[in-house]
């Protein structure tokens, strides 16, 4: 009976598949419909609107007013905006090297014959999982000049306390150290994955050729880790330009605008000064900077694999 049924169906099988292929088109349209609607409402429309806002003055309450290029001209001359950009670059100048050195060092040690590797990896990854709100509220206290943990340790060692968040020349670097502490576990895992992909035979061949550990690291490990390093740099850069909760909680952008980030400045313009057009202009400038900086990084570092 069963065989007969299969035989009976056999001729129509191909025809049926062909029909199914046609009707699958319809299912395809229905399945991507939520995406298309979401894209139109929450991506395309806001993008167009943001672009229009760049040429307008608007406080949400009164009607929009066309101002031409005035927002852009203002942005070019706005020293506060450029301070925020400089702060971001200062942040990255410390954050990226610190991130790479620590992540690489710990990943290399973890890649060796280490007991409790899982425990250590989990410990380093913990701050990355936890909300930035928790981390910043906690570190604000750790950095406290009078009663903070860092200054308690310093005074125990006989040094004088440091005004971590209240000295304009230090504050942004304090935030960079905290951000490194929060994210480094993530980059350790990325480097560890990269290290585990380096073929062991390369090291064996190199040691037969008489290369010592240091030479092996610089000539084999580092070049093969270049894609991971590029990823780490690009993700840190994007994160650095997106800095918000850290200065929002810890310093409010001060002292003397020394920790004002671009996103915090955008937020203040939009929701404290109600300058929607100008805030949208800052948003476009930010997106452009992220695009250009990561493009340059890609060009500089994305060289052909050596092996």
């Amino acid at each position: 009976m069963k065989e007969a049924a299969v035989e009976e169906r056999q001729p129509s099988y191909l025809a049926r598949l062909r029909m199914e292929y046609r009707s699958s088109d319809k299912a395809g349209y229905i399945m991507v419909l939520p995406y298309v609607l979401h894209f139109l409402v929450f991506v395309a429309y806001p993008l167009v609107f943001a672009f229009i806002l760049v040429f307008c003055k608007w406080d949400i309450v009164s009607p929009m007013e066309f101002v031409g290029l005035r927002n852009i001209q203002r942005l070019m001359r706005d020293t506060t905006f450029w301070t925020a950009v400089t702060n971001t670059l200062k942040f990255l100048a410390l954050h990226i090297p610190l991130q790479i050195v620590f992540a690489l060092l710990i990943a290399v040690v973890l890649n060796g014959p280490i007991k409790l590797r899982g425990f250590f990896r989990s410990a380093f990854f913990l701050p990355f999982v936890i909300s930035g709100a928790v981390v910043t509220i906690l570190w604000q206290q750790l950095y406290s000049t009078d009663a903070g943990v860092f200054n308690l340790i310093l005074t125990k060692l006989g040094a004088s306390p440091v005004p971590w968040l209240t000295d304009p020349s230090i504050a942004i670097y304090s935030i960079a150290v905290m951000a490194t502490w929060k994210n480094v576990g993530f980059y350790i895992v990325l480097f560890l994955a990269g290290l585990q992909n380096v073929p062991r035979e390369l090291y064996e061949a190199a040691s037969i050729d008489g290369a010592n550990r240091g030479e092996q690291f610089w000539k084999i490990t580092m070049p093969l880790l270049r894609p991971v390093t590029l990823l780490v740099i690009m993700l840190s850069t994007i994160g650095g330009f997106g800095l918000f909760i850290e200065p929002f909680v810890m310093t409010g952008g001060g002292p003397a605008e020394s920790t004002l980030s671009v996103v915090l400045y955008l937020y203040k313009n939009a929701f404290q000064f109600l300058k929607m057009g100008y805030a949208a202009t800052i948003g476009f400038a930010l997106a452009l900077m992220i695009f250009l900086v990561t493009l340059v990084q890609r060009k500089l570092l994305d060289v052909e694999q050596p092996y």
């Binding site: 049926r16 598949l17 699958s24 088109d25 319809k26 299912a27 395809g28 349209y29 399945m31 991507v32 995406y35 979401h38 929450f42 991506v43 429309y45 806001p46 609107f49 943001a50 806002l53 949400i60 060092l105 710990i106 040690v109 899982g118 425990f119 250590f120 410990a123 380093f124 990854f125 913990l126 701050p127 999982v129 936890i130 909300s131 930035g132 709100a133 928790v134 509220i137 906690l138 570190w139 206290q141 009663a147 943990v149 308690l152 576990g185 993530f186 895992v189 990325l190 994007i238 997106g242 409010g252 996103v263 955008l266 939009a270 929701f271 805030a279 948003g283 476009f284 997106a287 695009f291």
Partner: protein, 272 residues
């Protein structure tokens, strides 16, 4: 020499691990300390007190915030899993006009930084009358480009015979996706699920913009405003108590599923 290197390795790791764990332990301990003991490195409060927690519970509706956060994160994550896998399935397994355009759109929109559309998104939410509602937090977060890419890639790797057999049995594409592909896609579901959930749970900027009523706030938003807005007064213990409560659910989940967390977030970081 070898043992020296080994010991050096352990010293580095232990010192590093301490700097990662000690601050959290200090935070938990400080939440149980009276104000006079805050300026201390000790992890054991001399005079144990719940005053910090008392201040949190009397000053802000923290339990409502916990409920809001759980509700918003669970619903958004469920939506992302359903909708992103549908789009991923269509892009991987179905043929229709505009398929490649949509995939390129997914790749392209992933590169747009969220801050670019922040202002118009806020205006849109206000115009829709969604400010101070769950809709403002959930609806824009119902789709994930990263999720679509992960599902598409995984679904492309599943054998065509599965689909053919299911079609012969009369399964629709929805049945193939949810009854046959989903049970085979646990790693992808876990990756997208954890990444979406953690992202939604930790988000502060967006709720800060669209939610103003204390009753509707998410937990990280409320704890942030509690600390920044001066509601905690100068009480460090209360701030640490609020921060501890905010960290607790994620830490507990992390303790049980740490390997899933690490692999999921690392993978989606690489894809993203």
């Amino acid at each position: 020499m070898r043992t020296f290197k080994k010991i050096l390795g352990y010293v580095i790791l232990t010192a590093a691990a301490l700097t990662f764990i000690y601050p959290f332990l200090w935070m938990i301990s400080a939440s149980f300390k009276p104000e006079s003991e805050i300026g201390s490195l000790s992890l054991i409060p001399k005079n144990f007190t719940l005053a910090g927690y008392g201040a949190v519970f009397t000053q802000i509706p923290i339990l409502k915030a916990l409920f809001n956060s759980v509700f918003v994160s669970v619903i958004s994550t469920a939506c992302v899993l359903i909708f992103s896998s549908m789009v991923g399935y269509a892009l991987a397994r179905l043929r229709f006009i505009g398929r490649d355009t949509i995939f390129n759109l997914v790749l392209l929109t992933m590169m747009i930084p969220g801050q670019l559309t922040l202002i118009p998104m806020y205006v849109l939410i206000v115009k829709l009358g969604w400010a101070d509602t769950y809709k403002a937090l959930i609806v824009p977060a119902m789709m994930s480009n990263m999720g679509i890419i992960i599902f598409r890639q995984f679904f492309m790797s599943l054998p065509q015979e599965l689909v053919d057999a299911a079609r012969i049995d009369g399964c629709s594409d929805y049945e193939i996706l949810f009854k046959i592909f989903w049970p085979l896609s646990k790693p992808s579901l876990v990756t997208v699920g954890i990444t979406t959930f953690i992202g939604s749970w930790n988000e502060v900027l967006w709720p800060l913009i669209v939610i103003r009523k204390w009753d509707m706030m998410t937990m990280p938003q409320m704890v942030t405003l509690f600390s920044v807005g001066g509601l905690a007064g100068a009480q460090v213990a209360a701030e640490m108590a609020a921060a501890t409560m905010l960290a607790l659910p994620v830490v507990i989940a992390y303790l049980f599923f740490q390997n899933y967390f690490i692999e999921s977030l690392a993978l989606s970081g690489i894809k993203g």
